[in-house]
Subunit: 425 residues, 2 copies
């Protein structure tokens, strides 16, 4: 991005429903990812309402900093769709009938059996004079491209599947041609970790950042699923790849014990891949996560190839009645104990007839905690391969965070056992 | 909003991961909704990178148009978190150690068993001189409020659950106090329905819209959880409430058979409330939803008072082995049948010793469908009160949508049985 000849882009999402917070701006993220990968990184995004003044002001501001501005939304036929006239007005362009669009409208109208197209419906065929039409194969509102000197403004509808198809089928080619010499694709490499906080990771790998080539930057992306560490280079050639390799060699050994995937793969997918490769099956008994582990696993199509089922032993009686864990064992060790988690894992592998099983018991809160076993305490165990490994952890946060962190921790233990801790690479 | 004394707000989301499109800006939508409801509507949102110059320029621009600017993201302990120093610099404020924050950081780190606090973590205790600290109960990065004349800039972390809790527990009160005279809340009344498509609902209640007072508008919000019907008025006094009452009297009778709650209450919460009032317990056996129903139920604290557990019979063998459903019955009727769903519900109520139970079996896809039982086919049953009621439905959409719709449909049937279809009001 320090290259003065490189272009950058901007995205403006238009729609009152976005500003009211009724709709999440998924288009903005989708376009950002596409534009970044193409080498036209997004320098800023805006979300504004269906207001002609705001549309004109924002497009003008965006054009001041960026060579390519994508405006998304407000192209429909109804009166609250203001983008087309506002942008035409900004550039002092008349709205004129596009004969191709008019013919298509006439055709669609009569083939639907509505007779002749009423004159006011023809407004949908009006385009700013001299603009390029982007065909919409899935809806009525066409996209439009307006060129101003060396810069371009692209108007697309806000309906996500229409917008995405139009971008992929037409706009991508347009951008590649028009900005050919200035595109600068960005390369990422993302290491997804579990079981270590961001600050400790930063401490472990921070010392190496000084040795990074100047084109490579490092980012930490923390979340309830763990911390992802991302290397980014703006050098898109083989040199960029070599530089990422160089940095990976520096930080890789520190990441390896905690890393379950490189790239987009989730922990669940990493576990699933390993179970499929090894042709192993697994099952779960969970109490405080209440079906969360099972739900996450079955989110993925084809999970029946390795996942046999789950017992949500939410009531202590279920642990003894269905799993067959002796009540005396529960009384002796307490329901939240490594002993009970281990028994749950073993009994589950037995009942469900699987190679591996997870057992998990804990206190997700906000109630039910005690001095000996405060809210956030979770015991989990993995049975399989002739042994049982158990853990006792205390997770921070609210009920949702505790449940998500416990789920992730138990699955990461299964992953470690499946991979025998040998790391990814 | 035409009131010149009314305030408006702006939201700035900071993070390279947002501009790269790797993360969707869910914080922006969430804050937009909250601020709109509070009466501080959002006039524009920005998404920018972890770049001090961009942060300073954008906050300055936002302050030019808005009285309240919320900046979200870039407050963490690592070197790519630039918001705090950038905003401090913009206002010419020194960064000083806040002793309360420093003490909390030390305590938190050692009690989590990570040893001594790394030096780079202490930076999180630095605040712009004179700023107000917003406590973060779930993470280490505190929020900050900087007042500039009659305007306020609020800095919050980008981690969604931390940000939300901080906004709800502290920032809301702050905004209500500081902008008390200028807030212009919007009144909503939302009727949440299940089991009826948007078009049919629109047909049933459309004729009444002409009789609505002019300040009340109607919106249909379809989603995987069902269709919500929302009445909105910009008159926030008693007159607005009376107008909403008037409209509810018109459309209420049509909504009642499908409505499980008015307001924010989810279907799960509506079911839970009823079970608690009636002192009844329940359990679930689910196959294609794979733990989804159980997970949703146990998302709520205190669910152990009415929920005993679940069996995720993801493998057909589990249905016979654990639930004790005869294999001959499965062979005769097919695994996806009302007979098997009913058997699952009855056996589950029996095994788990509950008053009610749901049994659910189906094909979530994308694979596993057949001519007789295409992808999306789901059979579910509710056992309890001496009878079993079963259903066979075909849900549209992808795997996620089918699983969510099936979950919702089964829970709505339980709700109808618990309320004996008498409606809400």
């Amino acid at each position: 991005m320090t290259d003065p000849t490189a272009i950058n882009s901007a995205v403006v999402a238009v729609g009152d429903e976005l500003l009211f917070g009724m709709t999440v701006d998924g288009n903005g993220s989708w376009l950002s990812k596409k534009l970044t990968e193409m080498g036209a990184p997004v320098s800023a995004r805006w979300v504004i309402g269906d207001d002609p003044t705001a549309i004109k002001r924002t497009v003008l501001t965006a054009l001041g900093k960026s060579d390519l501005v994508i405006v998304c939304g407000g192209l429909g036929p109804t009166s609250d769709d203001r983008t087309r006239p506002a942008v035409a007005d900004l550039f002092g362009l008349k709205l004129v009938i596009d004969q191709g669009l008019a013919d298509k409208l006439h055709g669609r109208f009569s083939s639907a059996g509505h007779g002749t197209l009423p004159t006011n419906n023809l407004a949908q065929a009006e385009v700013p004079e001299g603009s390029i039409v982007v065909p919409n194969y899935e809806g009525t509102a066409p996209g439009l491209i307006i060129e101003e000197g060396k810069k371009s403004v692209v108007l697309l509808p806000g309906v996500p599947h229409e917008m995405r198809l139009m971008f992929d089928s037409t706009v991508t080619d347009y951008i590649n041609q028009r900005f050919q010499l200035y595109l600068n694709p960005i390369l990422h490499r993302t290491f997804n970790t579990s079981g270590i906080p961001e600050s400790l990771l930063a401490e472990k790998i921070g010392e190496h950042v000084a040795d990074f080539p100047s084109d490579v930057s490092l980012a930490f992306l923390p979340g309830l699923q763990g911390v992802s560490v991302r290397l980014t280079t703006t050098v898109s050639s083989g040199e960029g790849i070599a530089n990422l390799d160089f940095c990976e060699n520096l930080i890789g050994p520190h990441l390896n014990p905690y890393c379950y995937s490189v790239g987009e793969k989730s922990l669940i997918e990493a576990v699933a891949d390993r179970l499929l490769i090894d042709k192993k099956s697994f099952a779960v008994s969970e109490s405080c996560t209440g079906g969360f582990i099972s739900k996450l696993i079955t989110d993925y199509p084809g999970s029946s190839r390795y996942f046999k089922g789950a017992i949500v032993a939410y009531d202590p009686a279920t642990k003894s009645d269905i799993l067959g864990i002796e009540r005396s064992l529960i009384e002796k060790h307490g329901i939240v104990s490594e002993t009970i988690a281990s028994a749950m894992a073993e009994k589950t592998a037995d009942i469900m007839n699987t190679d591996f099983a997870i057992g998990l018991t804990g206190v997700a809160g906000p109630e039910g905690g005690s001095l000996a076993c405060p809210v956030g305490t979770v015991c989990y165990a993995v049975a399989g391969g002739g042994r049982v490994v158990s853990f006792r952890k205390r997770f921070m946060g609210d009920r949702t965070s505790i449940r998500e962190r416990a789920t992730q921790a138990a699955l990461f233990s299964l992953f470690q056992i499946l991979t025998k801790n040998t790391g990814l690479r």
